[in-house]
């Protein structure tokens, strides 16, 4: 119930008019709203039609580029340099294996939702990207550079990081929280930092008058928004989001989901979004990565996940979902 209504809901505080418009980010890449705006009906059609041509219809991945290259039928040709590549990544904590031989590539500009039950290694996998966790085996490449050879500080500053409950720094005001990474980068340039804060507060839909508040004075939804704004304030290429909306009510969450989709469209940022909520994963992701006991069991567009679950685990995850759409 909650799921289907989420797709019908108006897009919240921002002007929904631009949600279907094409956007161009600062790197000159062009993004098309593709099928995301109507993903609800497309997903439903995945089930009803049993696949076929409609899969391409709901496949949002890089459709603009592929349109230019004219190879619509070929499945996802690799762009020259993927944003993130996992090469047979394995990570153990003592005897427990957290990530087990994950090998996949995430294209630039993709929105990947990572789903799995708790303890399946999705958070650990996410942390290998910004070098908070170093793999025991294999390697992780971010824009072609291995995290093991990169300067972790530089690496992290180019990767937005929003974590569970959007842990804000309690001793800093909203403004200072959002400005945190920009001041790490260019502490001298106050004007630039202020401009960045203002820009991101607007994009994220935060009223300016809460700038001077401390996190304890914010509502849950505001805090999550500030957390996202903070992660994005330095205009990173990649955003790692680890269940950022886990601590808010359903209505606020839906509106936050809409906004992050819009931001993705507007900026073309590559998003890795960890969640334990299958609705959220199917709703947000261009592609969904299903993890089970440290292994990547399926990495496919939402349609494929629904239509052809790769394992019994995925099947269980989406069974209820399918029945909802079938209604």
């Amino acid at each position: 119930m909650e799921n289907s209504s989420a797709h019908m809901r108006p897009t919240g505080s921002f002007d929904s008019g631009d949600s279907v418009a094409s956007a161009q980010d600062d790197k000159g890449r062009r993004f098309d709203a593709c099928a995301r705006g109507g993903s609800g009906s497309s997903l439903a059609s995945c089930i009803r039609d049993g696949g076929g041509e409609s899969v391409a219809g709901c496949h949002p991945e890089r459709s603009a580029q592929r349109g230019v290259e004219g190879s619509r039928a070929a499945p996802a040709p690799a762009s020259p340099e993927p944003a993130v590549v996992f090469e047979h990544v394995t990570k153990r904590f003592g005897d427990a294996i957290a990530v087990d031989d994950v090998d996949l590539r995430i294209d630039d500009g993709a929105f990947v939702a990572i789903i799995g039950s708790s303890g399946c290694g999705k958070t650990t996998l996410l942390k290998t990207v910004n070098a908070l966790v170093m793999p025991d085996e294999g390697r992780v490449l971010v824009h072609g550079q291995a995290t093991s050879s990169a300067d972790p500080i530089e690496l992290r500053r180019n990767i937005g990081y929003a974590i569970q409950g959007s842990v804000l720094f309690p001793h800093l005001t909203v403004e200072q929280n959002i400005a945190y990474v920009p001041t790490l980068l260019n502490s001298g340039d106050k004007d630039r930092t202020e401009a960045a804060v203002a820009k991101w507060m607007d994009i994220i839909g935060l009223p300016r008058d809460i700038m001077d508040r401390y996190p304890a004075e914010l509502s849950g939804g505001q805090a999550q928004r500030v957390g996202i704004a903070r992660a994005l304030a330095a205009s990173p290429d990649v955003l790692l989001a680890d269940e950022p909306f886990s601590a808010v009510d359903a209505i606020t969450r839906a509106s936050l989901q809409d906004e992050i989709k819009r931001i993705h469209r507007q900026t073309g940022i590559t998003v890795l979004f960890v969640t334990h909520d299958i609705d959220e994963a199917l709703d947000l992701g261009d592609k969904v990565l299903v993890m089970e006991a440290g292994r990547a069991v399926q990495f496919a567009p939402p349609c494929d996940i629904l239509r052809a679950p790769a394992t019994a685990f995925v099947d269980r995850l989406v069974t209820r979902k399918r029945t909802v759409y079938a209604r």
Binding site: K127, N130, L132, P152, I153, E154, L155, R156, R157, N158, I159, Y161, I163, Q164, G165, V167, F169, P170, H171, L172, T173, Y180, V181, L184, R208, D209, M211, D212, R213, Y214, P215, A216, E217, L218, S219, Q222, R230, A231, L240
Partner: protein, 598 residues
Amino acid sequence: MISTMFSLLVERRDWFFDLLLQHIGISLVSIVLAALIGLTLGIAIAQWRRGAKPVLALVNFVYTIPSIALFGFLIPVTGIGDLTAVVALTVYALLPMVRNTYTGLTTIEPAIVEAARGMGSTDRQLLYRIELPLAAPVIMSGIRSMATMTIALAGIASFIGAGGLGVAIYRGITTNNLAMTLAGSVLIAALAIAVDLLLGVAEKATRRHMEPKPRRSRARAAFGGILRPQHATLGAAAGTSGHSADSAGAGASVSVSDTALDAADVLLDDGEAGRMPEFQNADAAESRRAIAAALTPRRRGVTVIALVAALAIVVGGAFAFANRGGSGGDTVNIATKPMTEQYILGEMLNTLIEHDTDLNVELTQGVGGGTSNIEPGMEQGDFDLYPEYTGTGWNAVLKHEDTYDESLFDTMQQEYESQLGLTWVGTYGFNNTYGLAVSKDVANRFNLRTYSDLARAAGELTLGAEPDFFDRQDGYPGLQQAYGMSFASTRDMDISLKYQALFEGQVDAIVVSTTDGQVADDRLVVLEDDKGFYPSYLCCNVVRMDTLEKHPELRDELLKLQGTISDVDMARMNNAVETQGQEPKTVADTFLAEKGLI
């Protein structure tokens, strides 16, 4: 008593003010040092967790050393005076500092640290921007309790010849002047409370994010703020920040709405202000913000910095003040033991030397522990001279085991000069030897007249004496040998407290000096030394030989007092101070005038 204390405070305000400044100097230097060292150590062990246990165990151990013992350990290293006091106080203050810093840093929510790290903070940025600010409330409360503790503890620094209000307390105890002791204690308490309040303000500032209140102001905070004109006026009148007042004025529309009234109420009830739910009337929130902005300083940080700066200035100033005139070749440093007669002798020397010569006298009265702390200070050059007793020199300083009599003086003089670089100059004339006194009741009950009588009854009695009496060869061990005297129990007590203890029946016998003013009290009986156990304790000056070489005129001054003070004179003067409440200086100057010396 209270009124005596206040009149004393007023009468001697300059002296008390000097002591207060010295106290501030010593304790605040210790506090700042301990804060810096403790913070560094705490940060270090928070980063290097394996070191935490041993370091915390060490500071914990140091904390448990009794202060008197710690002073004792430090005197051979750092000498007598302010330096030792600062070192000891700093060492004590480390524990709360290190522990609170460590606790503050290690109890930060790991997710916050990981978020900061994941966003690309370097270790340094993580420490300064995230960890320390978040640990600040815990660290500040550590500084606060440490500061109060240090100020109180600095009261005993006078024990080792440091300045501060402890001087007044100790002198009050020694010379039986309770009002003076009380005055010193009250001033210490007042200082501690003042510093605690000051640091409380700083601590609150570090907690502002935890108890959110509208504090910080910006011009935009006033936009849309619905303010009644008088609020703006109020803000301007408060004059805390011209900028804020202006913005409040700009935002002041004339709407006399309920929300504005609410806002004013909220402002009055400051504690409520921050918790006003955000979905309440936004206008009210805005105006409350604007009013608060007009009434509070623009940035709390500025206040804190100002406070810290003020403290630093006080510290620097006070310490420089306390140390003034400490050096300089023309100063004679005189020490005295914590005995009334030595206070009087000290004042006599002070008056006489400054009256007759160009020398300045730096008088350190009543050094705790007496000979055992002053004598090492003499050898190190912290002091130039002090009044000492011949028998004590022979047994306690030269460590001879035999009983001293004046035929040994030349031998002692020769040993002092060759071994210690010190010499005896000027014998005052009185012999302050030990005596054993019992209360009248006890004397009657056991029919005591002589030491031999006492030895017979000692098994049922308690003896009270200064701690060093029980160790010295000319003290209790000697008595036990000579008379076979063995008391049922013994009690350590300060010279000045033992008479009271005797009169109150806490002890049955005490060790007295023959010149004690209170010896005349008819509630006690001084027993006869029938075997002539006690050696001679003529009072003379012990002087550093190089000081005499540098200032030959000093010898003449010391010889002016040669043979001028009899046992009776000394007891009379002691009595004048201890029971009549006269100032040692007054008594000393009166005596000098009587003798025609000034």
